[in-house]
Symmetry: D2
Subunit: 387 residues, 4 copies
Amino acid sequence: MSTNDKTLTSSGFYVSQEAPIHADHPIPTPSAPAPDILRCAYMELVVTDLQRSRAFYVDVLGLTVTEEDEDTVHLRSLEEFIHHNLVLRKGPVAAVAAFSYRVRTPEDLDKAVAFYTELGCRVERRAEGFTTGIGDSVRVEDPLGFPYEFFHDVDHVERLAWRYDLYTPGALVRLDHFNQVTPDVPRATKFMQDLGFRVTEDIQDEAGTVYAAWMRRKPTVHDTAMTGGDGPRMHHVAFSTHEKHNILAICDKLGALRMSDRIERGPGRHGVSNAFYLYLRDPDGHRVEIYTQDYYTGDPDNPVVTWDVHDNQRRDWWGNPVVPSWYTEASLVLDLDGTPQKVVARTDASEMAVTIGADGFSYTRPEEGEASMPEWKQGEYKLGHQL
Amino acid sequence: MSTNDKTLTSSGFYVSQEAPIHADHPIPTPSAPAPDILRCAYMELVVTDLQRSRAFYVDVLGLTVTEEDEDTVHLRSLEEFIHHNLVLRKGPVAAVAAFSYRVRTPEDLDKAVAFYTELGCRVERRAEGFTTGIGDSVRVEDPLGFPYEFFHDVDHVERLAWRYDLYTPGALVRLDHFNQVTPDVPRATKFMQDLGFRVTEDIQDEAGTVYAAWMRRKPTVHDTAMTGGDGPRMHHVAFSTHEKHNILAICDKLGALRMSDRIERGPGRHGVSNAFYLYLRDPDGHRVEIYTQDYYTGDPDNPVVTWDVHDNQRRDWWGNPVVPSWYTEASLVLDLDGTPQKVVARTDASEMAVTIGADGFSYTRPEEGEASMPEWKQGEYKLGHQL
Amino acid sequence: MSTNDKTLTSSGFYVSQEAPIHADHPIPTPSAPAPDILRCAYMELVVTDLQRSRAFYVDVLGLTVTEEDEDTVHLRSLEEFIHHNLVLRKGPVAAVAAFSYRVRTPEDLDKAVAFYTELGCRVERRAEGFTTGIGDSVRVEDPLGFPYEFFHDVDHVERLAWRYDLYTPGALVRLDHFNQVTPDVPRATKFMQDLGFRVTEDIQDEAGTVYAAWMRRKPTVHDTAMTGGDGPRMHHVAFSTHEKHNILAICDKLGALRMSDRIERGPGRHGVSNAFYLYLRDPDGHRVEIYTQDYYTGDPDNPVVTWDVHDNQRRDWWGNPVVPSWYTEASLVLDLDGTPQKVVARTDASEMAVTIGADGFSYTRPEEGEASMPEWKQGEYKLGHQL
Amino acid sequence: MSTNDKTLTSSGFYVSQEAPIHADHPIPTPSAPAPDILRCAYMELVVTDLQRSRAFYVDVLGLTVTEEDEDTVHLRSLEEFIHHNLVLRKGPVAAVAAFSYRVRTPEDLDKAVAFYTELGCRVERRAEGFTTGIGDSVRVEDPLGFPYEFFHDVDHVERLAWRYDLYTPGALVRLDHFNQVTPDVPRATKFMQDLGFRVTEDIQDEAGTVYAAWMRRKPTVHDTAMTGGDGPRMHHVAFSTHEKHNILAICDKLGALRMSDRIERGPGRHGVSNAFYLYLRDPDGHRVEIYTQDYYTGDPDNPVVTWDVHDNQRRDWWGNPVVPSWYTEASLVLDLDGTPQKVVARTDASEMAVTIGADGFSYTRPEEGEASMPEWKQGEYKLGHQL
């Protein structure tokens, strides 16, 4: 990122008009137009103990069961009106079977087929859908190795937004976004831009290494994000609540159930996205974010926010340390046969290494550099030493 | 609305796929395509005492001054990145000078000109814009008598979302929507559909009389709504907060300033939109809503919600009475010369008359009818008698 | 109240050191010392349909059943560690059987017997208690006609404060206070002072007529209040929540259950006590307040706050109208035989009459008088005309 | 603590009637009666850069300046009606000059003099007080080495509770408690019991080692706590907010001001006290807690809660790690000449060592032991290794 493209804000990050990300090894842009994607719609998670996972998502997190059988549970949050926004499917290896997006029209499925076929990807279409409640669908192994799904036809169910008698203190209302781990973030970002996504925020260093990028179709900060790391893997799936106290209530409840070890990171305020967050780990270790209150990004000239990787408030606005597992652990993703995709190592520098590792550094105030990191937390911030 | 189009939900309202509104006296659909509107962007309000209005919007409500001179104050909320989302202009008569919408591209202004010209509307275009900070703009007197503006070019300013040092307890973050008063709601709705809006909710009676309709471009419940009444007039402009306590804090502050008489209605929970709300009146009587937490409506098959006008929870989910002024009072709107538009009386039944008036009725539980209205509030609910 | 005793605050009310209330017809002060009362502890409510009342308090409000049988349900809020803080008992007439207070020591029961005996009151003591879970207790018909109970011995049960898995969005945590209706407020206040209560706030007019007074043992704004009106009757019993959104959640849930007609007044911010409030009516019409966030009053020189009865922010800091039923309706109270006490009419002016009645007036800003009442609410504020 | 005195609750801690703490080396109980203490009232902090400290407490935390001069700033929170509840005094060494308590009557000062004199403590009384706004006062060097103050006479100032125009998003409303570091917790606790305090909660291990104890005069969880460590030192002073979002807002503001390095620990939910918390460090390193929503403890038989030191939810109900500095760092305290008291090392095991140190252990679920600690946090939890 060259300095003259960007403007320093009074909050310490930069804004620019174009996503300041350059891909050295781009995937060629297909000549076929991309499908018109509305939003991230649901994730299909393979879980190893269906009843234990159901207990976590239904009894603890309060998702609503739309439909279930011996092998599958279809869940939705309170404001959803399509059949489900999370599917739990019993399987031998914990993994993600599909990142599923809704497209605007049935014809967009034809576009998806053409788009990915031109890219040489494996593409499978089923008129009857891959999961209950969803009609005609296309699944692909995308050029980054992720199992993506597209659909338009779907069964409508009642939106329970007004059913306050069903709300719990930590009520989840929407599926907000996915987050994917991939070794080469610029390459992945450029591909997603070809698919019609717009970058809203990213993390870079002065040399232009990109550590993560957020991108959206619906006008929030993201429908998915690309996090630099060994991949393809799934970093997390995020549901939103109405208010911050709802997120605190989930923590309180986990404490009461003596399940506080499900809390991996947070709660806290993100720098990136400005949202309030919490990261949980489900019984298989799949990471679930609870998220609320990012901002509107729907204008075509919405400023792209770029954070310095050394800014200690980028990941947590309050400067609380990121636990190492959050950087290193993620879920496998499956190919269309249900076999886990091989994980390829990141070769660029890792965000953890350059910030909390032995040679890395972070700052609270750029002009003071590392000296502005809180003394009392230096142990935690230097945890990288132990890994 | 015929009964077979709609499905009764467990919350007491109906959902259907198409906006179940029929216009008897439609405005012809132009052959020219509509401009691609992104969102409601700002309102230009004429105020009679600029300093007094500034004090209200800046000192009390906490909006940020982007730029101001002797005659005009340009304001924005904390998450806005365009120059302003409210303009106060000094003038002799309190009124609305423009309902301004942002369009996707500069070319959409040409479309706006063609669209309204074909409708025989007065159209004015200024390359330099009508207000500071906005470039090439089109203003029209629309077929319903409202002064609409469209623009794309705009000065960017810093989005202050991360500047928590500037937040007040009642911090306003976004412009959410407009609300317009018009005598013939079906006619107005059909016209707005031609302009590319989608209906999300409406209020009807069994006979199909439509009392109000909500419609959107951005994927929230509305960018504007049409409220049945003598019009064209402006019912309110709405800003959103992050959480409900922010709205309560505004009330608390108005009490502390001995300005509680600025509170007209609420706070409360809407039935329509499911949002939490408060209505204030500014020093000229312009109505400002503070609003938070409606739901995502961006899918093309988003279910349209239809409320029975006699359902006492449609306007306030808690059944609290709507103050009569809320139904009857509204702001004048100006033509492009700055002259107030003549107000035409509504001829259909008024919502107030059919619900709280002498012959009207409401219910809490449909099966129990009027008997399910709280005894202790019958005085308030029958206020119509006094008017 | 003479002007020189009181200091006008910047918030519009007055403070003084001594409760500025003079009783013209005082009850003589007993020579026997008063028992040392810790706090209001529970109310025994007679309800006409036990299952319907149970559904309201347990299924809707979420109180916990400690113990129940065919005729009685013993309930407690989440932070209570004594057996119950509400008893529902089936009976032929809806009424209050006991306002029950906990005293510091077993010996305080002897003091209570002596204190009330000297006053000529009917006194009954039962070593085994009057309700399950409570030991040695004294019940009296007090000089104002109310059935008061005192006890020390009680069964401990688990305090469920940490059991966030049991919390609902509107979780009730403590019993906060009672509120009693009595014709002669100064007389009642003087008597309560003899019983060891301290006045924290009151409402008066310039002539010294006292409309209501709040008084405490525990260091909150009150354990009970005396409201001027036909009495002895019970105005309400109040439970507290942790935060304001909990109170809003109760309203939302009542809407979802189509029970919004249970909401009588609010939610709102009190002037008196500065607490956030909501008033509900249970299936028998017993009034229940939900209350949160008053202030510490435990210092012996805690300033007494006196509100002008014409200050429209005294009852609702936001100036929202008080519904007439709130002034006029209240629950009967029983004598020790279970017979309703005869209700004696108030002879002093009523608060409703002097504020919203035909000849009454209120103001938002004292210097502007009635002119500072919001125009748009004059119908509501003058509802008194209709009664 | 013998097993038969205590009852295991469903939340994982124990309750008992008597504080289960035995002092091996007790300070003799004076024959003189203890003064009747109302509450912790203010702390006098010596700061090395008065303007920098003022900026922190006034501009960042929003405390109100009652009065100030070149050397001293007297501050109060919004609900306080006495002159101040925090004094900043300029001095050469950052330290605590006084833990000040208000007593019920002027005569209680005589009792304080007699009580401490009998204990052989240095006692100083000043009729004109030691700080502006406070009258007749007694200061002592207590047997534990802490500078304690007692006063009754005080200037009243306006309680700003209703002045919502002055509230910030993180408004502090009350001084809640002090927290003291002392080597021998049982000895300190026994002494405080002699002074009239009641224990509400404590942390122990199976062998009966006491790591910390909380004790109260006003009916909250504490007016002060004794934390085991090298002492006498001051661990923290705590102010309360109304709601949890107020605490989050303080973090957000510190982020916006690029002062996130002031955040030492939290925000989080305590196990002990059940309150929501945040720990900050002021410019001199003095620790300030922001605190909200503990429970009522005013009954004489209020159950004492005992936590197992190995319960990982005792300090943070969500199981988030305690930063080592929180265990090891604290402020010096002064003697009556203004000289720092010598710090004596704790000889009992330290809480950090037995929980996160090399040989320590914690659990989420007692029956699973250390295996129930979250894998992903083992680095953090074993930070003790590094120290």
